[in-house]
């Protein structure tokens, strides 16, 4: 019992790896995510953390957790598979964009320039992982009654949704038809957090410590150890997309 308590939390190791990676030039880093499916309990805390971190509106999700029931009674189990954007090294979504609004940045993360995106959704059709969702401009408080006297109504409760999010280090408040409304959106490995030395929200919030993040170009990083495991796999590898999200099964 004492041994377990004395063990270093994996998050601390990942943060140390991150600190080391940030000392390198951006083009020398290779951000990858490793998800240990044996540890995932399907709590969806990563999904919720992502929604809160990026202030995602209804219908927009960056990291759903897929659940599947396996076996027949009495030998039944649930399998969970968190699915962020795969940040493919050979992404099918970027060449189809007619305006170069989505591309791999210098760190190899597939990003979207919200001010450039025309909302044609060709990238969504091209993605084999359904990792992109479209922002239809909905809000959680939409069509809810407004308050009166001391009752907090839509106009006040909705303040939270209208406050700017900080994706890509930009401040974007939701109003009218301004971006990211009318844009395609996706997971970006929380680049805005990484820049400030913080791990992606899904990684820090994982209660089973099933999600790992770091620089695969650093041989001392935990993720580079994990991607060399014999039980590592990636989704739809046969398509040649070279995902940067690895699963331990």
């Amino acid at each position: 019992m004492l041994d377990v308590l004395e063990k270093t939390d994996v998050i601390l190791r990942l943060q140390e790896d991150l600190r080391r990676a940030l000392e390198k030039a951006p083009e020398d880093r290779r951000w990858v995510m490793v998800i240990d499916l044996r540890k995932c309990v399907g709590c969806t805390s990563c999904t919720i953390a992502c929604i809160a971190e990026n202030k995602l509106p209804p219908g927009v999700v960056y990291r759903p957790v897929m659940a599947e029931e396996v076996g027949t009674y009495p030998h039944v189990t649930m399998k969970f598979l968190p699915k962020p954007c795969m940040q493919c090294d050979n992404p099918p979504c970027t060449p189809v964009c007619p305006v170069n609004a989505t591309y791999k940045n210098e760190e190899g993360v597939v990003v979207i320039d919200y001010d450039q995106c025309i909302g044609c959704r060709a990238c969504m059709a091209a993605c084999p992982y359904a990792s992109r969702t479209f922002d239809f401009g909905l809000t959680y408080t939409q069509a809810t009654p407004d308050g009166f006297d001391f009752v907090l109504g839509q106009s006040n409760a909705g303040d939270y949704e209208r406050i700017a999010n900080v994706e890509y280090g930009e401040n974007r408040a939701r109003k009218g038809n301004t971006s990211p409304i009318g844009n395609v959106r996706k997971c970006h490995f929380c680049l805005h957090r990484i820049k400030d030395g913080m791990l992606p929200a899904c990684t820090t919030t994982c209660i089973g410590r099933a999600t790992y993040f770091g620089d695969a170009n650093d041989p001392d990083s935990l993720v580079s150890e994990l991607v060399a495991s014999s039980n590592v796999m990636r989704l739809k590898e046969e398509l040649g997309t070279e995902p940067r999200v690895y699963y331990l099964a």
């Binding site: 219908g59 957790v65 964009c97 007619p98 025309i118 059709a125 038809n177």
Partner: protein
């Protein structure tokens, strides 16, 4: 009488469409039923449909204006006008589908040339300008050398813009239902058939009634339509049978949805029975094919069948989850693999059809699209 009724039809569909346009501009895509899984819906299907007629109309126009085939003499301008109106409807439909339609200029000035969408936007722009120029030239200086040059450039361009639609879908390896080499080959065939059917409607129902060439024109167009439709049916057979034998789950599921799933009626009744079988039966018989009204109405059935066929290309491929467990992974608005167009989507499409119908009729009434002798006849 028929023309008045068609004007009324165009006005009514446009009236319904005005509500759709208002909703689209006031609330964006909120009231649409397509979403983040079925990413393209009715408007994209209608874009394919109208763009097909536009390209096919131009191809048909070359019979008169480029190849000088005697029997088609005098039909070039009507074909060009039909092509132009259809192109406008196609571009309106796809423009309204954009999340940020005010940024369309970026495709011209900040575009990505390796994107098929980029190439198509430029292709359509050039195609539209060439069609307009050809129409003006044929009205002002019939048979001029400049017109021939334009038609020579326009013919391969019309092949490109129709084939590129197939390629736009076909390059998506993520969708096995689309990812077949036949797609870019099929679409020019679809387009030419659409153009021929459009001409059957234009000449059979709205052309000068007693043109002496008319029966022969209609018969030739009918034969062309029938042959192309048979080719199209062969394409469907080849595509579906190969896919079923190949047994790739995503592909088989998409075909199952078309044939036996939520879209079965659109496939068996609208596309095959109404849009293919009935027209083939009537148009292959000279006594019907040479008759103005029969040929015109059968042409209309062919177009209706093609409209459904376009939807059956777009929707089923998108209603099959890329990953099986996605269907229940996260719930929310616009996160569904079931798709049927919303009232707002139908309204916008209705308005687009209304604009196309009224545009065509107004042009045929007020532009010199038929020669004087044809009018006198």
């Amino acid at each position: 009488m028929l023309k008045k009724l068609t004007y009324a039809f165009g006005a009514l569909t446009l009236l319904f469409g005005l509500w759709g346009f208002y909703d689209r501009f006031a609330f964006g895509h909120q009231d649409a039923n397509y979403g983040s899984y079925v990413v393209w819906g009715l408007w994209v299907a209608m874009y394919l449909f109208f763009a097909g007629i536009a390209a096919g109309g131009f191809m048909i126009a070359t019979l008169d204006l480029l190849f000088d085939i005697p029997i088609f003499k005098g039909t070039g301008k009507i074909a060009l006008w039909g092509s132009l109106v259809s192109l406008a409807a196609a571009l309106l439909s796809i423009w309204l589908d954009l999340g940020h339609l005010e940024r369309i200029w970026k495709v011209y000035l900040q575009g990505n040339p390796s994107s098929l969408l980029f190439q198509m936007v430029w292709g359509y722009t050039l195609f539209g300008l060439l069609t307009l120029a050809a129409l003006i030239l044929q009205i002002r200086k019939p048979g001029s050398r400049a017109l021939k040059i334009i038609m020579w450039i326009g013919l391969p361009l019309s092949l490109f813009i129709s084939g590129a639609v197939g390629a736009l879908l076909g390059v998506n390896a993520s969708r096995p239902f689309w990812h077949i080499g036949l797609f870019p080959v099929q679409f020019p065939v679809f387009s030419l058939a659409s153009g021929a059917a459009m001409m059957l409607v234009a000449l059979g129902l709205f052309g000068p009634r007693d043109d002496p060439h008319r029966p022969q024109q209609l018969w030739t167009l009918s034969l062309l339509t029938v042959i192309l439709m048979v080719v199209k049916l062969y394409f469907i057979w080849a595509d579906y049978s190969q896919s079923m034998y190949g047994n790739v789950p995503m592909n088989v599921e998409a075909i199952r949805q078309v044939m036996f799933g939520q879209y079965w009626w659109a496939f068996w009744i609208a596309q095959l029975l109404i849009g293919s079988l009935i027209p083939i039966i009537f148009l292959s018989q000279p006594k019907f094919a040479k008759h103005n009204s029969w040929a015109g109405w059968m042409g209309l059935l062919v177009l209706i069948g093609y409209a459904f066929a376009r939807g059956l290309i777009i929707f089923p491929a998108l209603t099959v989850p890329e990953l099986g467990a996605l269907t229940s992974a996260f719930s929310g608005p616009h996160l569904s693999f079931d798709y049927f167009p919303s009232l707002m989507e139908w309204a916008v499409t209705s308005g687009t059809i209304g604009i196309a119908v009224l545009g065509f009729l107004l042009g045929s009434d007020f532009l010199p699209l038929v020669t004087k002798s044809q009018k006198e006849a």
